[in-house]
């Protein structure tokens, strides 16, 4: 399979699923087995999109909560392509459109994404406390929203 894809690349048929990648988002490490070969962009299978960045591809576009980025799905574009009957989505192109910052280590194929600015608006404009989910020191998972109805003082500190 590896040889075949190398041959196809030589023939100029780029964007064939060849290599694995790792995505970092909000403290999660997501392994993606297949991505399209592209030196600058991260293409994942549409099935994997939600696992990779939380977005879901709907008829109206790629959506997350109240955000929906229109995506035409009946033709190839710089954000969506069909290869061998399978739809692929360009995660970095989406990031660029919604001004989501990211940094990539190309050598190790690790793509690290920051916060989606549109999801921060209620905090920036209305000082609504952003929710988060973290492990406690015994390994239980807790969210800020678990404490709704109580006053909370969030204290950050560190051992260093």
């Amino acid at each position: 399979m590896k040889h075949l894809s190398a041959v196809l690349l030589l023939l100029g048929l780029a964007a064939f699923p060849v290599h694995a990648a790792t995505v970092l988002l909000g403290g999660d490490i997501v392994s993606v087995e297949h991505t399209l070969a592209d030196p600058t962009d991260l293409w994942v299978s549409v099935d994997e999109l939600t696992r990779v960045n939380g977005f879901e591809l709907k008829p109206e576009g790629a959506c997350l909560d109240a955000i929906c980025v229109p995506v035409q799905q009946d033709r190839d574009s710089d954000i969506f392509v069909t290869r061998q009957g399978k739809p692929w989505f360009n995660v970095t192109e989406l990031a660029a459109r919604i001004q989501q910052p990211y940094v990539v280590d190309s050598e190790a194929d690790v793509w690290s994404f920051g916060a989606v600015p549109a999801q921060r608006q209620s905090f920036i404009r209305d000082a609504v406390a952003p929710d988060f989910t973290l492990p406690d020191w015994q390994g239980n998972t807790l969210s800020l929203s678990d404490f709704k109805g109580k006053k909370v003082m969030l204290l950050t500190w560190a051992s260093w």
């Binding site: 690290s112 920036i124 609504v128 973290l134 020191w137 109580k150 006053k151 003082m153 950050t156």
Partner: protein, 196 residues
Amino acid sequence: MKDQDFVILAVAQDAQGIAAAEPWYERAGATFVGLVDEHHIVSSLYNLVNVPSAVWIDEAGQVRRIDEGTYATMHNLGGFEFGRTDYAPMVADWVANSDASTHVDHAIQISEKTSEQAKAEPAFALGVYFSGAGDDVKANHYWAQAQTLNPDSWNYHRQDWAYTPDEAGANWQQKVQTLGDTPYYKPIQGLETTNQ
């Protein structure tokens, strides 16, 4: 302070994760909820550039006050001995009087991050990833990048220095000297001096 409708979430901003935070929490007992945040998610979400910092959040999930540098040292956690003895009564007043407390910030202003500040976060996360994978060269590379992108974030500097304790003292002094008139912690509203 032991009002059951008041919860303290102590969030350790620690890239060394549970292992680094555990001794502190063990000492503290169960009087508050201790969370471990090795990727600095809470600092990123709440635009905090230093530890320790405090955010007051009311019953409806509304931020009522943000303070950077709430107490100078984190010792005697179990008794909540803050570095400043005058901070705890302010918190108690808010717990008792809610929005009527004079310590609530009614005109809270939260600024949008610049694109560089925002990009520092995924760079820092890459550093944490490579540190966990045992690749210190890459970890240092991305931590340095995060520091360059957001030079105001003490969290990034101090995290990095935690890995090179021998250099930390000199780095610290050098960085403090470059601050000039910028306070190391932002002044706390309602208190007379900052807790340097």
